[in-house]
Amino acid sequence: MKPAAFEYRKASTVEEAVEQLTQLGDDAKLLAGGQSLVAMMNFRLVRPSALVDVKGILDLQYVEANGEGLKIGALTPHRWIETMEDPGVLEGFSVLKSAARWVGHYPIRTLGTFGGSIAHADPSAEWCMLATLLDAEMVVVGPGGERMIPASDFFQGFFTTALEPDEMIIEVRFPEPAPYAALQEFARRAGDYGIVAAAVALDLQGGECRSARVVLGGVSDVPLRIPEAEQVLEGADIGQEVFKEAGQEAAKVIDPPSDVQGTAEYRRDLAATLIQRALTEAVAKVKEAADAR
């Protein structure tokens, strides 16, 4: 569990980081919080020829609400999200805060970064799921300048993204508030990636659901949208019955893996349960919001 030899560089600006990535070639990697990368290097699952340490680019640590949307700097630690208190942010994006507690353990949340999690692209990662759920866009800088990649194009498979080797994520943008969103997951130990995780967002009008988003983690190689479950919810009167049906519909259409943590059938059951629970939590927020008013 010692990494293979690598070169170490430090960058203090985004431009510098991108320049070094370009110089060092395809085998170089950015080092952010190191909470995924270093472990993988120690297992020798990855062997970057060089690391460009961007942790010092403190400009990229921020959570900013601008009118409708939310911008999160790529190097913002998970812990910042967990401890957000700005009511302007929380009103539309409380799901980020409540999901943060599922991300690893306290020390990991203080070191690991939002952008690092997105770039790492674990299909069960909370931020990757919420990016998919809420149509986030990744702001990316490469040698040719800046571009935006929507979540639907960004996640391409296990630990695989649309990012070029010489590109860096600088920001993640959530375009619209999602007051009725929730994330639920099940892991055998606190802090582990969920065996299955479910994230939902509802657009509600009175007792009716105008539109819905359902995303599952842990059942595929990317955070997976489940249109079949969304259709069950759209136009329906919200309540446990339809939540259950949405969950069951999702369980039917997914093709999850089997491994030592659970069989495919177990993952299907969990998907149904967690979707139902997430929907229940999302709707509870309607009541909370009403009570608050």
């Binding site: 569990m1 010692k2 990494p3 293979a4 030899a5 297992f43 020798r44 353990h105 099940f186 055998r188 130990r189 606190a190 802090g191 582990d192 030592v260 943590q261 659970g262 069989t263 059938e265 177990y266 059951d269 969990l270 349960t273």
Partner: protein, 795 residues
Amino acid sequence: MHDNSSSPQPEKWVGKSMRRVEDVRHLTGRGLFVDDIERPWILYAAFARSSFGAARIKEVTVEEALKVPGVETVITSSDLGGIPGLEPLLERPEFVPVTMPLLVGETIRHAGEPVAMVLASSPHAAEDGAEAVSIEYEPLEPVVSLDAALAEGTRAVHEGMNDNVLLDVIDPDDPELEKILEQAPVVVDATFDSGRQSAAPMEMRACLAEWDAREDTLILHTSTQVPYVVRTAISDVLGLPQQRVRVVAPDVGGGFGQKCVVGREEVLVSIAAQRMGRPVKWTEDRQENLTAAFHGREQRYEARAAFDEEGRLLALRTDIVCDVGAYSCYPFTCGVEPLMAAAEMPGPYRLPRYWSRARAVTTNKVPMAPYRGVSRPQFTFVMERLMQKAAKQIGMDAVEIRRRNVITADEFPYESPTGIVYDPGSYLESLEKCAEVMDASGWERKREDARSEGRLVGLGFCCFAERTGYGTRAFALRKMAITPGGDNARLRMDPSGHVIVSVGTCGHGQGHQTTLAQIAADQLGINPDRITVRQGDTESTPYGWGTFASRSAVIGGGATKKAAVMLAERVKEVASHLLEAAPGDLSIEDGKVFVNGSPDRFVSVAKVARAVHVEPHLLPEGELGTLDATAGFDPPGTFSNATHGAVVEIDPETGAVRIDRYVVVEDCGVVINPMIVEGQVRGGVAQGIASALYEQLIYNDEGQLVTSTLMDYLIPTTMEIPPIEIFHLETPCEFSETGAKGMGEGGTIGAPGAIANAVADALSHLGIEVDRLPITPDRLRAAIKESRAHGGVRL
């Protein structure tokens, strides 16, 4: 001989929750573990390990490894010449000895076996070198499960054997027992399985060997529980006289049994240091620890128990099979699990008739070593499930059936059907206390109320008696070629009146530096802060067996007390000259030797020490300039006991088990330090909960360990372990000098049974039998689903 009833001093320190002497350095990062030790000109070792579970080695090529910058040399099996492997022995006909090679040259018997040792100038280079060693294999069919290993015509893991059974101990036929098992009013039949686990100590294995040319001696610092045993193994394998091998255990970050056996890496690193004439260090990493360090606990029990209508246990028959992996562990052998299970299975219950067969079965997996509790967590789980099943069949309460079966005060000393004698304990009292604390009498009501709300809650109990602190006579029955037993303590007072207690036991996290000082302080009448406990060094401690099998407080503590009493006598003898009073008229308190009845006629202990060493002219001619005493202790063994109770709630949708309450009522005789005892209980319960709900080492059909990181091998964290309520009962031990009984393992023993019974209780209306550990959410969820569809499933 002194027994505790005639303790010459009133106990002042024993019984106090003194802060641990060890904690300051450990909590401030100033402990000294093997990996902290640095040496000039050192080499680091890394091992190229087999990626196959079963294979013949066709060729090992080291050229590429030698080219890696920093690599000094690579040692393979052919370089070892005639140096033998480790061959632990039982001297009994049912035992098949096998040799664990140091480096494998021919046949790979488990994934992770060392094939080559790379020595390099940095740990990174060593690992690069190990990766560059190329091994060509001719794969063999791996034997991965107990079923496969025992199947007719299976490949033998060890060539030349006809089957895979390394030990098979069978009681003589007992037709009377068979009759009871046929005809009894209540018969319970079941098969139980427990998962393979790793002790997973926080500090993994590590050693540093160096050759001291001045004394022509090998010095090995190693993370071990048993320095003298390691010395014996190394001296035998290397052909060095024992005095030319010094083994030191510095701070050791947990062992739990994984370090009470000798690893081949310890021997290899010693060989390397001798050959290279340079210090050589090896520090195991977590993946290596999971894939190559000893495992344990993978067992199966086919049991049949008979009860009368009143719920009284009449007879028990059990067929015990332990998956011991590829080799026997040194020095205990692969017999340690099966023999323990067969001998102690009856536990705290009155059992008129008993028959057992116990087998050690070899497979292409990592060898087994004793792991905290050694078989007792498993067979206790089995006994407690049998009790629960019988209670259910009869329609009797879980507490009542135990109440009718535990050995009671008037029956001690009780001789079990396996010939072991139980000294007095508080089996019934601990059960009653636990039932009371858990409010068991009102439980059924609560469970039914919960069920009517769709919630699944359960209450489970687990009673056990645990033989601890056993010496030579008990170990001799196992017939190990190397038989552990008693232990020794040597106390020496320095010229300032401070005392060094040197012991052959070897604490590795248990706080012996604190508890042994408490014991000595009471006898010497001095403050424990004037006492330093030295352990874990074959050069500076008396001969001893180290720390395992809940032996140190009883045996090491007993030897310490005896030696302390002797030293106190010596102090009085010297003081008698200074005070001009008879030694018999003196007593020591608060660091002063008093003439009884005359509080102002005293001399300080420090003055006595000073007189002996630097003012001998104050003493009669012939007084020798030392104050020391050595004593040994070798007790027959004593049973501690406990009842554990757990309340769980199961989420029927996810299969998750949440522990809402956990209670331990334990009796380890005289409690030397309550805080330390409770720490041991809590840590043990956490490991027991791990057996019940979390940890399992899983091999796939190719013989690969698929749970080789802590992401897959689920050691529970503080987040999973509930608060544990602990109550103490004290039945002083009649055989131990201190009245204490061993308690290092108890926590692990009770938890699997208590949790399994609680889960079974929560599911009792669904016909789900909880007979397999660990209880995982996916299997639990599947069982709940299936029972709703068809009823009656074995989890």
